[in-house]
């Protein structure tokens, strides 16, 4: 098998592979920078929680309309935003920190979701909602992911400075501007939007993987936010292509294959990154006097 046959042919020969690649690349472009900010705000697990929170909305859409893109997306969006905003509001306006309020609301939401799915669906349906099917992306799903990508990139560009300030020195932002709280909620909204976009392709459980793993990996190579965001997108895109190829050649489910590829890059970065484990362990051969 030539290199071309192995790497390129699957994408040129099959329409579903092209759509899967296009969808997952778009998703990388929009999810990964969001993941960088989630990580820098120490909310890596909040992304995971939010992904679970989407379930009841998607399940409600599924119950009412079957396996349809639009109702499941809208349902997921509503559920996700409700949980994100409630958790954000509790942490902003009460003493409780966001980790606790987020855990509380996502658990409520997840329980509601599982109950909803069990009302009618079989476990096969649940598997579909949880693990998605990137190989079955149709044009309307691609349009949705594309729109989410555009909206995300615009919002990130507009609010970039405020996001950085809110992560770096929230007290300072509060002393010079009233944007702190709105930016936080816009950001939570963007997270939900991307998770909803991701769950079509990867399922609710794994959509957060494409968000967090490339970001977590990129952290080991650079100490600038801008570079980190770009690098995470690159890692995400490579993971998508690699995962799809593995899935194609080895007849494995595509979603987990993509996340596994991202996980492999993450592990590589942990160990070999310029700010990774080895670099931190190795004693420099010489050092400067000042």
């Amino acid at each position: 098998m030539t290199m071309f046959e192995f790497l390129i042919a699957p994408f040129t020969e099959f329409g579903f592979m092209q759509r899967a690649l296009a969808g997952s690349l778009l998703l990388s472009l929009s999810c990964c920078p969001v993941g960088v900010f989630l990580m820098l705000r120490r909310m890596s697990l909040a992304g995971d929680a939010m992904a679970h929170a989407i379930l009841p909305g998607a399940a409600a859409g599924f119950l009412l309309y079957g396996l349809e893109l639009v109702p499941m997306t809208i349902g997921g969006l509503i559920a996700g935003l409700t949980v994100a905003l409630s958790a954000g509001a509790v942490s902003r306006f009460t003493l409780q920190r966001e980790d606790a309020s987020m855990a509380a609301f996502y658990l409520i939401s997840l329980a509601a979701g599982v109950l909803l799915v069990s009302l009618r669906g079989s476990s096969v349906d649940l598997m579909h909602v949880l693990f998605g099917s990137v190989l079955a992306l149709d044009n309307s799903a691609l349009t949705l992911i594309g729109s989410i990508c555009v909206v995300t990139l615009i919002l990130l560009t507009v609010f970039w400075r405020a996001l950085v300030a809110e992560c770096l020195d929230p007290l300072f932002l509060r002393s010079v501007s009233r944007l702190g709280a709105p930016v936080h909620f816009v950001f939570l909204g963007v997270v939900v939007l991307n998770l909803v976009g991701g769950f079509q392709a990867l399922g609710t459980l794994l959509s957060v993987g494409l968000m967090m793993l490339p970001a977590a990996g990129a952290r080991f190579w650079t100490s600038r936010v801008e570079t980190m965001a770009l690098l995470s997108v690159a890692i995400g895109m490579v993971s998508c292509a690699a995962g799809l190829l593995v899935s194609y050649h080895a007849a494995l489910p595509s979603g987990p294959a993509i996340i596994f590829a991202a996980g492999a890059i993450y592990l590589f970065s942990v160990i070999f990154g310029t700010r990774g484990a080895i670099a931190a362990r190795v004693r420099p051969s010489r050092h400067r006097t000042a």
Partner: protein
């Protein structure tokens, strides 16, 4: 003719319905340089937070003259030192009031940042990651950010904590320059010598204002003795403070007589009377 930068009108600030700054009356003149002095828990930081607007008054209010730009250096910053940022990034945050969310940095802005770093002795530190800075260097970087903010009212909360003598000297030069430029500066300090040498005015706090005015009139042995012995604890059975006449003789034993019933904003006030002439009426040292 005094030109007020800040006007406190019976300002009471606190937490959880317990007062931390009680019935503060008075005016901070434009261009004044005021030290805020007092024991732990006397309400110094709370007052600054109230001025910035980080906590809302429980009673009364604090008016800024319109258009006043504030720069605030908190006692405990919430800076995430692990965040991938460089010194120049954090100092550039000071451009926020000018640039807002979307404004682009001009060459002039970048020069302001570079000049500020030189002024605090951090030239050459532009590209240093935050997690490699010492405590004193971090404090200087935050001073540089205040410089960049180009504010009319500068609030510094214990700016010299854990700072070496040389750095304190450098930072004091900057404070005097602000004073010379006509900016209003209020700083929470714990070093009496430093206050006496460098700060013309002092506000002595012990939950309620003990004295406020010329430093030499405020930092008298009697006033200091009183401020050291105020009751720092909160009491669940402390009486409610019921309006202007009802709070005399509350169990904290603080003196409310000053300030009330006088008009402090009548324009003709000279130094000693405009702040409510607290220094003259501070209780004598009965518990000394």
């Amino acid at each position: 003719m005094s030109d007020p930068c800040l006007t406190f009108n019976n300002l009471t600030l606190g937490y959880d319905r317990h007062a931390a700054v009680h019935h503060l009356e008075g005016v901070v003149d434009k261009g004044s340089l005021t030290a805020i002095y007092g024991a732990n828990g006397s309400g110094k930081s709370t007052l600054l937070k109230g001025i910035v607007g980080l906590i809302k008054p429980m009673a009364g209010d604090c008016k800024r003259s319109p258009g006043t730009r504030i720069a605030y250096l908190p006692q405990l910053s919430e800076i995430d030192r692990a965040f991938p940022a460089r010194v120049v990034d954090i100092v550039s945050l000071g451009l926020w009031p000018r640039l807002g969310l979307l404004g682009r940095q001009t060459a002039e802005d970048r020069k302001a940042v570079a000049d500020a770093l030189v002024a605090v002795g951090l030239a050459g530190f532009e590209k240093r990651p935050l997690d490699t800075l010492s405590g004193g260097q971090m404090q200087r970087a935050l001073f540089a950010r205040v410089l960049v903010q180009n504010a009319d009212l500068i609030l510094l909360d214990e700016p010299f904590n854990a700072i070496d003598a040389r750095t304190v000297r450098d930072l004091l030069v900057i404070i005097s320059r602000w004073h010379a430029e006509g900016r209003t500066v209020m700083a929470v300090l714990h070093d009496l010598e430093l206050v006496r040498l460098h700060f013309p005015e002092t506000l002595l706090l012990a939950r309620a204002p003990v004295a406020w005015g010329q430093t030499k009139d405020v930092l008298t042995p009697a006033n200091l003795e009183y401020s050291r012995h105020f009751d720092e604890a909160w009491h669940d059975d402390a009486p409610w403070c019921e309006g202007d006449d009802a709070h005399h003789g509350s169990i904290h034993g603080h003196e409310h007589g000053h300030g009330h019933g006088h008009d402090h904003h009548d324009g003709h006030a000279h130094r000693d009377s405009k702040h409510g002439s607290a220094s003259a009426k501070a209780p004598q040292t009965e518990d000394a």
